[in-house]
Amino acid sequence: MQPVATTFFFYFLSGLTLIAGVLVITRRNPIHSALALILALLGQAGLYLMLYAPFVAGVQIILYAGGIMVLFLFVIMLVNIEKSQREEQFNKQWVVGILAAVALGVLFVLVYTKGRSLFPERVAQLPEQSNTQEIAVMLYGNYMFTFEIASLLLLVAIIGAVVMAKKRI
């Protein structure tokens, strides 16, 4: 299956993701930030689809946009007090923070452009039709131990979250 209008969709999706990212960190109302983050996650799922990773895109939509963000919205509704929206939104060291982050970004871009010759630009032929099957073979074959550890991690997280949010332990 031939991809259609790759350039347009790349710029559209990445522009959407970046604009949504800017909205996340600048909105006063946390609900608006959460909605912008959902938009960023959906844009990112589109970028995954363009990178021939449909399974990761599906997992991102189900878990991140449909699970984690619902959790965020619930908690925001629990702790959303009007007073916090009228206070000062950015803390005292915002200038240093932005400078440090921009320096980090410049470092990344320098590393990429200077090291561009190090990673080959050949694209591995990932057949898209059997992406899920191949991920399954690898996940339950090479990475079986990691899979079980991840399930243990989720169990620990469940117990931790329940204990944290209880009124009386």
């Binding site: 299956m1 608006h32 909605l35 939509i61 619902v70 919205l73 619930f74 509704m77 992406n131 899920t132």
Partner: protein, 416 residues
Amino acid sequence: MVEYIKSYLDSTTTPGQAGNMFWASVYILLIFLGLSVAVIAMNWLERKILAHMQVRLGPMRVGPHGLLQPIADAIKLLIKEDIMPSQADAFVFWVAPIVVVITAFTVFIVVPFGPTHAVTDMNIGVLFMLGVSSLSVLGIVMAGWASNSHYPLMGALRSSAQMVSYEIAMGLAVVSAVLMTSLNATGTGTLSMIGIVQSQQAQQIWFAFKFFPLGLIAFFVFAVAMVAETNRAPFDLPEAESELTAGFHTEYSGFRWSLFFLAEYSAMIAVSSIAVTLWLGGWLRPFPHLLSGSTWDLGFSLLPGITFLLLGLMAFVGVFRMPKHPYFRVQTIGLGGFGVVLGLIGLLLFLPPVRDRIQDIFWFAAKVAFFMYLYIWYRGTFPRYRFDQLMKVGWKVLLPVGIGVLILTAVAGVLL
């Protein structure tokens, strides 16, 4: 032009896979039209069937036997005043019904009406459907919060807690059905919707009847979870009028409310399509191998035409039972015209070229219609669950049963 259409009708892949944008857009337009007609028909059918179950008649005045009632409702909703609460968050208030409608409609991209009659056949079709229907929870949370009022907020929180809990049971039931697809000759399963139905065709059994009680239990778990997922009776506490004054869509009026209503019925049709595809064999006709042969094929292929002729006959019986009074002249003529149209469609479906192509779509639509009737039946029969009972059923009954069915299906698939 005609050759272009003919060349398309003989293709062997879906338009999405063939990269054919024009036909994909035609399919999307057909899905929009079909969903609108289906939602209007569901509205009328729900009121009439519910009424007949409660030994009353339902809408009878607006058209003959209330057939124009949904159109009158639609016009009323369109001309109602559009109210927004004063302290409501305007942007989120505006966006919430749009999100719910978009997620309800996007699911239909992967729903297969036939072996090549889907907009596209994604490799991750089932995952896509689960993901997009979990995005509708966000729209409901936004609607409840943006209304800036107690009842919508409570309704939205209850509704989203319910939907999130039953999504897990749905996912487990879906995984056990997908597990059964890998028991075919090549040994690889598939997540694509068309692949699942073709796997049922190759294994010559609908997944609801495979490994006798296991497929059926998984199907029942999904059937219960899908009713809870769409906030319908008996799990409709978040939007019941006696409990929460219409829940998360209390503050919406006019066209915005009709968007929620449209999204609810579309979501019902969407999850019924998933259930039909995964367990009831999608577009396959009953007993293709037991009752095979050209006479049985001919008999089954006459069924769509016979169905529409029967519906036309019911319309004519209604015409003969109309009171013979000048007040009812227009209604009688209208019902007669409706019966004639249904009869003509039935006769059209007897023609051989149409008959062969309409088979898959007819069986799929018939099975989804059966599920719609089940939804209305549940609403007329069951009392409502209290919210703690609802959560108890979701977490303490459906989730363990789902896990048990998954483990037993895996064991049975390896041993048998």
